[in-house]
Amino acid sequence: MTQPIVELRQVTKSFGPVDVLKGVDLVAHAGRVTALVGDNGAGKSTLIKGLAGVQPYDGGEVLFDGQAVSLHHPREAARLGIEVVYQDLALCDNLDIVQNMFLGREELASGTFDEGRMEAEAARALQTLSVKTVKSLRQKVASLSGGQRQTVAIARSVVKKATVVILDEPTAALGVAQTAQVLDLVRRLADSGVAVIIISHNLQDVFAVADDISVLYLGTMTARLVAKDTNPADVVGYITGTTRMTEVDA
């Protein structure tokens, strides 16, 4: 397989005496969806917070495009094009779609907002994701449905050239139709050349969208599988720890 865009090697993280990540390996490839699964408390969120630069790892190595990089601040992650879509608390209800998509990285022209440019770029981002469900870019986010909000949150991650997009349980609060919509969007995101890492507890969703599946069990990566070569029963086995992988092979 080609060189992964992101590779974690033996990363560790402890909170005091508690070792949450005990030497974890993870790879993500451009154009592929990698699902990160594991039981509650396995360390999934901790793993991606390290990638986002929010909560740096204690040890191990992060390779970006083959180069060792430091991820000690959200800014360093942003510079590499690593974007995180958090499941909750991701948008400001009182701002409109464009304002949310550019929050924290507004385009300026001679000291003030270049609203026209932001609006045009937001439209382009939504278009590349083939989003058709929002009526107006100047709608307040408060008036959107859960799926539309998730759409905006995902589009927010690609408005600036993203290389890796990480989604933490993007469908947890959504109904059937909206879940399908968001998974569709995730697929298109990967097809546009982005490496997508998606965390989910829903194996149906995982098998619907993922190319690769990585299973985290109590702070160690117990399986790295290709989705089309495995099945939900096996994955459940790895998640609950009843099946152990003898060999991890990428």
Partner: protein, 425 residues
Amino acid sequence: MSAEVDSEGPAVAAADDAPSLLGKGGHGGVGDAVRAYLQRVRGGDMGPLPAVGGLVVLVVIFAIANPLFLTERNIANLFTQAAPLVTLGMALVFVLLLGEIDLSAGVTFGVAMGVFVKLTQPGGMAWPLALLVALGIGVAVGAFIGFFVARIGVPSFVVSLGLFLGLQGVMLVIIGAGGTYRLIPSPIRAIQNQNLPPWAGWTMLAVVLALLLAVALLDRRRRAASGAPNPPASIMYAKLGVIAALGAFIVFYLNQDRGTAARSLEGVPIVVPLVLLILMVGTYVLDRTRFGRYIYAIGGNTEAARRAGVNVTLVKWSAFVVCSVLAVVAGVFTVSKVGSADAAMGREIVLSGVAAAVVGGVSLFGGRGRLVHAVIGATVIAVITNGMGLLKFSAGANLAVTGGVLVLAATVDALARKRSGATGV
């Protein structure tokens, strides 16, 4: 930026199955824009509409009830009476937008003005220096509140309540119970007691209109250059036309001689352009700079703002400083009007300031409201005070009516929101 306006916009890769989102949402014709606005209003986003309606009703009632109300002299008086409350209301908007409050804004300006007036007694400090000291007190108080709220996480209600009490003590020490100091520096007295020459009033209006037009045109050019659609130009001109007509009416009115046979008195009070300046600069900051946008973002969803890379602590802190400094400016307008400072200065006004903002449509939950809303709300309250004073109602009746209007405004807002099922934004 290119002066060439490309109506097609840059190469927006038009995916076949995804129609462009640009050009939707009220950027079509005038009809679309009006429909979009009506939809917003129906959706519970009424903004200052109820307050404007209320203002018109109040003015009509008072004009009918007492012919003195619409005299040139009373209208000029109304402007100078309203100026401190308008300014304090605008100050509070900066923290209300965060979902915070500053109950000490009034006594902050009380202390600052107490110090100012005392420093500028005959033989004292030069007034510009003393003014800097007063503004410095504003910065210090704002930074103090901001530290406890933004850094430590103490609720602003509590911190500013503590200061509200504590600063009254400071006032007593500075001024002494029952003591009063006369305001000496004539430039400060002039703010509320002297007027622009008539030509300067017209110039002020022309400058304001030119600025608004320039900003609007620049915006349109920029949007066109990026390929983003512009709302119909006719709407922009209609808005400017309304402002021009209203402004011309007011300037014309205030330029009439309202003096006595012995001494003529005419022109726009000096405080008016100062308030306008604060309104325009403040609106610019809130609408077009990161600081302003982040204030709204924090008021809407603090955690989302933090994750988007916003320095929440710094923005909150700064907003409290802006609030306190503008409060001191409101204090300057107050001493200028009253002509002296005593130990009770600013104690009463702060809740009226909050009321002004809320009546005008600013949300106490944060994230929603504009400076001009506070201006309209403060004007409503000032009109009630002035009109009921002319009708010889007692101060008690005046307070009762003001309170009633506040509850009414909040109720109208709550009902509008409830009907639309909108969240507290």
